[in-house]
Subunit: 223 residues, 2 copies
């Protein structure tokens, strides 16, 4: 059955788009059928994966970015478009904007799993309580319980502060934190400037390897 | 007369709050009367400058954070509160959320100057065209022309990519770019975790010095 994963966090610039893109492409590279949906009006996922922000085909309330070769990529043509039925897909990954308004709320309601990228910085940490509370308050989808997975991102191994924050998060959120964490890798910005994922730009980079590990963790560990 | 400065950029996590906070405190330390207004429902400016996110006094449609000793700090108690009249102030600094919706639009309309923090990363660069276009399309405030100032932030001196992007920006936006640029300084995150600006946490840090330089540039150079 199809599993819907929402990448959400109301804090800006914490790696939602980078995570949605690289998890989707990582799962696709593992042989899964994946649809990535960019719910941010800024269309950053589209910008990161298409060389020209101009190659979409209209499909009713949706744009289909067929020029994107790495994963099937859609974005809404109308603000409150209902999410498209995706029965032929193993995974649908939703990239959310930096707020908890309608798009994010609908993404949470449609999701089986919520992936919360977490930057180990004070302001990003403060926002974590709010998104976790919102996920818990979101009505369940059928019988199965919605699961939350916090993903530490942009980690700098040399930073004592990041280390302390990470240990703190492990203690408090033991059941809801991913085993994988994503290191800081300057190559992400460069890859997006070419309209490619880091898998396609440099598969040996530490960033690509980390998201490949996350894709395996999702495949093996999330039920 | 009072000069209103809006810190705006629809891209998330590019340093709007850090810039609004440190420009406001920097101008205050230069002897000016400054009011900082946090327009983001996430109240990150409040979190960065108050040890407890709980010490506000109500003033009609506004919260006044009197526990903040470094600068006068307000935030809205109602979503569409009109900006408070501030005739006794030399500067009003507005921290905007990561979008171009109502709060940001009203901030732009109220502003004499728009300060756009710019992270030298591909996705942040792509968004620049949009905010600049929105500022130009915003109706003028009286006779004076509204000015736009792009501020390069989180610059890593070792990064060739940042250097290239910066030179590119200088070429294209010569008249609208600040002379000051803000280096990456891990001390910002730590200072905010103590509810203090970096001026109060460590005035000798490269981050504090850079914002002191920006405050001087605003005082001397912006008309
Ligand atoms: N692990 C990483 N290492 C280095 N840079 C990264 C990493 N992850 C993301 N980035 C960069 O950090 C910036 C912010 O990331 P991204 O745009 O994915 O965050 P976001 O949460 O989607 O932002 P927004 O809130 O604006 O939607 C981008 O320029 C991106 O290329
Ligand atoms: N010059 C800098 N050096 C290092 N870290 C910085 C710098 N400026 C800001 N930061 C950190 O980067 C993160 C994002 O900055 P900030 O919250 O100010 O951005 P923002 O644009 O206001 O984000 P949002 O879109 O969520 O409102 C914060 O954790 C902040 O402490
Ligand atoms: Mg994004
Ligand atoms: Mg902010």
């Amino acid at each position: 059955r199809t599993r819907v994963i929402a990448c959400a966090n109301q804090k800006g610039g914490v790696g939602k788009t980078t995570t949605a893109v690289h998890l989707a492409v990582g799962l696709r590279r593992a042989g899964r059928r994946v649809r990535l949906i960019d719910l941010d009006p800024q269309r950053n996922a589209v910008l990161s994966l298409c060389e020209e922000d101009q190659d979409a085909t209209s499909n009713g309330a949706w744009w289909v970015w067929s020029s994107c070769s790495e994963v099937e990529l859609w974005s809404p043509a109308e603000r409150s478009a209902d999410l498209p039925a995706s029965p032929d897909f193993d995974y649908v990954v939703l990239d959310c904007p930096p707020n908890l308004e309608n798009s994010t709320q609908r993404a949470l309601e449609a999701s089986d799993h919520v992936l919360v990228p977490l930057q180990c910085e004070f302001l990003a940490m403060e926002g974590l309580t709010q998104i976790l509370a919102r996920v818990r308050a979101t009505k369940p989808k059928g019988d199965a319980r919605r699961t939350v997975h916090v993903l530490p991102v942009m980690l700098e191994p040399g930073s004592g502060l990041h280390q302390d924050i990470l240990e703190d998060v492990w203690r408090h959120l033991a059941d809801n934190i991913c085993r994988t964490w994503i290191p800081r890798d300057p190559a992400f910005s460069e890859a997006s400037s070419y309209g490619r994922s880091l898998f396609s730009q440099n598969i040996r980079s530490i960033g690509a390897r980390a998201y490949a590990k996350l894709a395996r963790e999702v495949e093996d560990g999330w039920t």
